[in-house]
């Protein structure tokens, strides 16, 4: 089901013409209203009138998360506070929180973009949406809430927590759709099982999951345990919140990006230059319509690629393939770009290896060295030396084959890799200390 047929199925030429008009107006607005951008544009010698074609976006400065932090809380706002009707904020787990504001029109646009997402997931009038995204400063709860109302669905504004109660409500209120993080959906299913409730027998048919990275195998797990279709939704608070893109229920293959509102680029995270079409790189987003806090070329740090081939659902928008990792984690080893996630998938594809690993990069003379430390668990442990050595060789061979990098593989004891409460420390780069 397509919510906004006019915009979601625009022929590319018309879409690009619309994007250009919006980009020109955006640059004009930030130049005059955001001192931060005026300075940045002047430093680059770019005047608003210089944007003549879409490709000219390359002359604009990048915006990084740090810029939002440096201008905490309201320094990046392009309108006065009288026009701000809502404030959201990131959690601030990796530094100072970033604050975003919305004008009345921003909130309306967001609702309609989220509405498109729900429609793509097949959610509409008659559906009962159990919304277990957190309500509050986090954008998930309210973002989904307004979107579901926009398509005429019934919203249960559940928010997070109180898992047992959630299960009762899903069951008693006969929810047909759910949104939350993918890991929470599994937690719900497991808790339901303990309570003797079989999720597969409930009327739930679709889940819209986001706010954390998840894999294809996790999707299969969720779909089996909840007997639903599990769809991936993408967004980030700096850009808007959820609703920047979503998979359609028809194809479930890549996330349709709302290109009339967001101009997308894929760049080489090191050089900042565009990659060849279809190649993987870092997603950069320019907000074409946002009023309160418009951003030029925001570096998402998410590594992905875009697919422009037509989708069988009828939408003409570019599809973003599953996010492969974050560019902040990229390592350059003897000139080769290596992402921890690539190593991770090799390890996970090697039968039985625990997903706990660490990459140690060092330099011997002029040569970079990569050591992959991986924990041995009972699944792969054998009392024969040759068995463990062949496991090391197998992993080493796969890394060489898939990444073109020679790594040494070192098996370590369980818990041999330090656990952290937050994000795991996957990389130890000793080269930096040597400099």
């Amino acid at each position: 089901m397509i919510f906004d047929v006019e915009h979601e199925t625009l022929p590319r030429e018309e879409l690009e013409a619309l994007q250009l008009r919006r980009l020109q107006s955006l640059v004009e607005r930030v130049y005059h209203n955001v001192p931060f951008y005026k300075k940045r544009l002047e430093e680059k010698g770019v005047r608003p009138g210089d944007i003549q074609k879409l490709d000219d976006v390359r002359h604009l400065p990048f915006t990084e998360k740090q810029d939002l932090r440096n201008n905490y809380p309201y320094g990046m706002f392009a309108v006065s506070m009288e026009n701000i009707v809502r404030i959201h904020s990131s959690s601030g787990t990796t530094g100072k929180a970033t604050v975003v504001g919305y004008t009345h029109r921003d909130v309306k646009n967001w609702a309609s973009l989220m509405g498109r997402c729900f429609a793509a997931a097949g959610v509409g009038p008659g559906d009962i949406l159990h919304n277990a995204y957190g309500y509050g400063l986090f954008t998930g709860g309210l973002g989904a809430h307004y979107g579901a109302e926009a398509v005429g669905a019934t919203v249960i504004p559940m928010s997070g927590g109180a898992t047992r109660r959630q299960i009762m409500i899903i069951k008693d209120f006969m929810a047909t759709a759910i949104c939350c993080t993918p890991s929470y959906s599994l937690h719900l299913a497991e808790t339901a099982e303990e309570l003797g409730i079989d999720f597969r027998k409930l009327p739930l048919k679709v889940g819209i999951f986001g706010a954390e990275p998840w894999s294809e195998s996790m999707r299969k797990d969720i779909e089996a345990k909840l007997n639903i279709q599990a769809l991936d939704i993408y967004g980030l608070s700096e850009i808007m919140g959820p609703g920047v893109g979503i998979e359609c229920a028809e194809a479930q293959n890549g996330l349709h990006m709302q290109e009339d509102h967001f101009l997308l680029e894929i760049i080489d995270p090191v050089s900042g230059e565009p990659v060849a079409p279809g190649e993987m790189g870092e997603l950069v987003i320019t907000t074409l319509t946002k009023e309160a806090i418009p951003l030029l070329r925001y570096r998402t740090r998410d590594l992905t690629r875009l697919e422009y081939t037509p989708c069988r659902c009828g939408r003409t928008t570019a599809r973003m393939m599953r996010v492969q990792g974050r560019s902040d984690d990229m390592l350059i080893i003897r000139g080769v770009n290596v992402f921890p996630q690539q190593i991770e998938s090799i390890l996970l594809d090697t039968d039985g290896l625990a997903p706990h690993y660490q990459l140690v990069v060092d330099r011997k003379g002029t040569m970079d060295t990569l050591e992959v430390r991986v924990e041995v668990n009972e699944g792969v442990f054998t009392d024969e030396i040759k068995g463990l050595q062949s496991l090391e060789k197998k992993v080493q061979g796969s890394i060489k084959e898939f990444l073109g990098v020679t790594a040494s593989v070192k098996l370590v004891e369980p818990k041999g890799i330090e656990r952290s409460m937050g994000k795991a420390q996957r990389i130890i780069d000793l080269r930096k200390e040597a400099k």
Partner: protein, 143 residues
């Protein structure tokens, strides 16, 4: 007839072996036989102990990766040719020895050799046919 052997994965770090022996000592488990195989970065400690389940649980609780392997304990005459006799019997039937280690128990004229075979059951059959003494697990644990 078979013997349960405990195998433990160890990183090559000073003091790691002592941690294992401390855990066993604290839980009152006696070591009957042991062998340590090592490479430059890890080792595998193989043990036959007085109480397999207890030793395994204690080590697992302390975060060690442990495994169970079935091995065979064969009594060998403590004289020239004792071991060779056994190996020739096995060789004739193409049974491969993955690894082996020996221990001599007190006041006896026999040595005991622990074998890990590629085909354990056939090996036991064969050795019995040749009237060799195989020490059952229960006996070995409490020697």
């Amino acid at each position: 007839m078979k013997v349960d052997q405990l195998s433990i994965f160890l990183e090559n770090r000073a003091g790691r072996l002592a941690e294992v022996t401390k855990i066993l000592s604290d839980s009152g488990v006696n070591i009957r036989a042991l062998s340590l195989a090592d490479t430059s970065d890890f080792g595998i400690l193989r043990l036959i102990v007085s109480d397999f389940e207890k030793a395994r649980n204690e080590l697992k609780n302390q975060g060690f990766t442990v495994g169970r392997t079935t091995v065979v304990a064969v009594e060998v005459d403590d004289q020239p040719g004792g071991l060779h006799n056994i190996l020739s019997i096995l060789q004739a039937e193409n049974i491969n020895v993955e690894y082996m280690y020996a221990f001599v128990h007190q006041s006896s004229n026999h040595a005991v050799i622990i074998f890990r075979f590629d085909r354990t059951d056939q090996a036991i059959e064969l050795l019995k046919k040749h009237n060799l003494t195989i020490i059952p697990g229960e006996k070995l644990y409490s020697l």
